[in-house]
Amino acid sequence: MPTEKDYAESIPIAWCPGCGNFAIIKALRKTLIELDIEPNQVLFVSGIGQAPKLPHYTKGNVFNGLHGRTLPVATGAKIVNHKLVVICIDGDGGAYGEGIGHLLAAMRRNIDITYMVHNNQVYGLTKGQASPTSDMGFVTRTTPQGAIQSLNPLALALASDVSFLARGFAGEIEHLATLLKMGIEHQGFSLIDILQPCVSFNYKNTYQWYRERVYKLEDQTYDLSDKLNAFKKAQEWGDRIPIGVIYKEERQVYEKQLPALKKMILARQKIDPLLFETLLDEFI
């Protein structure tokens, strides 16, 4: 059984003091320990931004790739070794901006990956520009007239037939850990949108702002398999913001459809040129 120490940071942490990322990494460490997953069984894939630095601040296999291209890398890796627990980490810029096309495809594919999106509604690494989820009218140096209509990641995910959808809040570590646990255990693609205040650049959506608004879906009667109701919940933003599991369904998992993975993981399969004599015959 791994301990806190096994998931301690590998290099000094460069996040701003008070950043929501500290709470999120705490919830992630707790989840992995509780699920009894060793660091060498995990592959963290991330892109570029403040959140995607997270894998360096814990332990595991790490592919810290390009901005917005996290899911394709993770998909390739999961196909080659489907025994790995693959956890992807991005911010709202990488996930919902640069990489949105890959997110739609990954949800349709339903590959067994858990995607944590640290959604602080602002660009942190590049210092304070509007993100796809910035509230409409949010004024920044790239959007002096105010941000355009914000993207609704939950509704978009439901429309793309995501098989596991949850929203957490960096101010609720225990609750977030439960969502992460369910996401990792879910067979198929899990999107976990995590509301995270940015103490440096988001002057609007602060801890205080969120605390006044978030409520837990599990505190009321809520059917996880009711997609229409989930769509309704996905529209709630403003005075009341739901957190918890929004939707869950069992659906065919991508890698289970691949005949090449039936025998053993692809990474272990031997190379044998002589197998292809039969294919050569077709060219006679």
Binding site: S10, L66, A77, V80, A260, L266, Q269, F276, L279
Partner: protein
């Protein structure tokens, strides 16, 4: 006597030109002949003008010829466009009902293909099968040769289609035998004892070569002329534990292949110029994360969408400079279909040994042209996966450093999921353990380590092909798919008393400057022959060796060079 015959089947898209062309080519292969077949089609599914050209000989062929012995016209345009390509004594197999060309000259062999198909199998669509039957009849071959090929090719469509095709072909065969004045038996006959040859095109050779070479993963988005590589590996790969993913775009494709390769298998992508543009950042990612990657860049004329179904060698500079930052890469441009097979296996070996991208640079012409080649000897295939760490021997994951600095620049690879090992890498500059850094010293160590790999790579590159003749006054220089046309042009010049050496580059980068310098340092007039408008290889040669090329024979109209094109232009523009 050298046997030779050149046949062009022309018609509209949708008339089955390609499938019948392949049947003709395969029948000739079974007849023991060497075949080179190329095709020309438009970016449309129905209509327009398409052709499939089959050149036959008892000697090895590596390019096409424009001078036709037989023109099979399934539509009028075929006659009007290709009539002037007929040699003396050549003739047109003409179905007047379809082409509306009513002619009684000797060069028109009127075969009512549509009517014969209608009468024999009640299906006018099989007039192209009638045509192939007629050609085999004119050649005086045994009908069973064609029958066997038809059986094999149409088997998946069911017994009725097989039988109808055989019946239609037989009707054409008999019709032709009744018209002995068009007999082709004096030009061609079957040759025995060559059962080991196969007929294969450039893309098939690459796809098959990749799988033979241990590639277990391809990701791609369809783009002419690379699409059939993904299709072949997706359909055939199912039975050989190969995974093919049709991705949402080319950016996903390259990143997916990088993720797959990082996790421990041989992975590739195949695309054309536009797709390669989208892959550039991923290429750079493979460079800094030291992830092996094989990328097939099948060129077509650009910029942008350009001429989608045509050929060009316009992306040499692009392949050389694609991706931001500085990282080692290899560029291999196969000269022939045969070489394409062997070169992609080598590409995987280089990619894994030096943990860096390798670009296979082909073009529409090579991708879609068929040639007979000796059956590939799979027992001779060498797989070198490079320096791999045995994960079980590492007691603690912390000991493993993915990017450890070495003299060769090669850091032993381990894969995620191996016992105890943690494999950490980053698109940010990183330290030996793979974690992101900012300091100047580590940056320099890692950057230099990566670039040092070029020294080792250079040593495994094959020298250019050099053909020297005594008293040469010219050296013809080319690269990639033009090898066949340039070599044959040199032979044609020789027949006219003009001696020309040939220098041909297939393994282009790291650049073989010594071999090129010594091949060109002989006082001959240096002529570059390239399928682009900027003489990209000529400029590269100058950059790497200081040698200035004397004359440029360039072509960028989307069509491939024929040997005669080259000879005519050298005579006109150089001599």
């Amino acid at each position: 006597m050298v046997l030779g015959l050149n046949i062009l089947i022309g018609g509209e898209a949708g008339q089955g030109i390609q499938s019948l062309g392949i049947i003709l080519a395969r029948t000739m292969t079974h007849g023991g002949l060497h075949v080179f077949a190329d095709q020309d089609y438009e970016s449309r599914v129905r209509g327009g003008h398409n052709f499939f050209r089959v050149r036959l000989s008892d000697k090895k062929l590596s390019t096409f010829s424009k001078e036709l012995d037989v023109l099979v016209a399934l539509n009028r345009e075929t006659v009007t466009i290709h009539d002037n390509e007929l040699r003396d004594g050549g003739f047109i197999i003409n179905d007047a009902e379809q082409t509306k060309v009513q002619a009684n000259e000797k060069k028109y062999f009127n075969v009512p293909m549509g009517r014969i198909a209608e009468v024999s199998v009640k299906n006018k669509l099989m007039s192209n099968t009638v045509a192939v039957g007629a050609i085999i009849g004119l050649c005086g071959f045994d009908f069973s040769l064609l029958e066997n090929v038809l059986r094999k090719e149409f088997a998946r469509h069911g017994e009725k289609i097989v039988k109808d095709n055989i019946t239609a072909a037989q009707a054409g065969f008999i019709y032709a035998q009744d018209h002995s004045e068009y007999n082709l038996g004096h030009k061609i006959h079957t040759v025995s004892g060559s059962a080991t040859r196969i007929l294969i095109n450039g893309n098939e050779a690459l796809a098959l070569g990749a799988m033979v070479g241990g590639c277990k993963f391809i990701a791609g988005y369809p783009m002419t002329p690379a699409t059939s590589i993904l299709e072949y590996m997706a359909t055939k790969g199912q039975d050989y534990d190969v995974v093919a993913v049709h991705t949402e775009d080319e950016i996903a494709a390259v990143n997916m292949a990088v993720g797959a390769s990082y996790t421990g298998i041989r992975a590739m992508v195949a695309t054309s110029g536009g797709g390669f543009c989208l892959m550039e950042e991923g290429l750079s990612l493979a460079g800094i994360t030291e992830t092996p990657l094989v990328l097939v860049l099948a060129q077509r004329p650009g910029p942008a969408t350009g001429l989608p179904t045509r050929t060009e060698q316009g992306d040499l500079w692009f392949a050389l400079h694609a991706g931001h930052g500085e990282f080692p890469r290899a560029i291999l441009a196969p000269a022939t279909v045969d070489e394409a097979f062997h070169m992609i296996i080598k590409a995987f070996n280089i990619a894994e040994k030096y943990q860096t991208p390798v670009i296979i640079l082909t073009d529409h012409y090579l991708a879609t042209s068929y040639a007979t080649v000796d059956r590939f000897n799979l027992s001779e295939v060498v797989i070198d996966r490079g320096d791999l760490v045995d994960g079980k021997k590492l007691s603690n994951g912390k000991d493993y450093r993915r990017h450890i600095v070495t003299d060769s620049g090669i850091s032993p690879r381990a894969f995620p999921g191996q016992n105890n090992v943690l494999v950490v890498t980053d698109s940010d500059e990183h330290d030996e353990s793979g974690h992101m850094i900012e300091d100047a010293e580590t940056r320099n160590l890692q950057n230099l380590k990566r670039l040092r790999k070029l020294t080792g790579m250079k040593a495994v590159m094959n020298s250019p092909k050099i053909h020297k003749v005594s008293g040469a006054e010219l050296t013809l220089i080319g690269w990639g798919s033009t090898f066949g046309a340039i070599s044959e042009a040199a032979a044609l010049l020789q027949e006219d008393g003009i001696a020309a050496n040939v220098l041909h580059l297939a393994e282009i980068w790291p650049f073989p400057e010594e071999a090129v310098t010594s091949a060109l340092d002989n006082g001959t007039k240096k002529i570059i022959i390239e399928g682009n408008a900027s003489a990209q290889m000529a400029q590269l040669i100058r950059r790497e060796t200081g040698i200035i090329i004397d004359n440029y024979i360039l072509k960028f109209d989307g069509r491939s060079f024929s040997p005669k094109d080259i000879v005519d232009r050298i005579k006109k523009e150089v001599l």
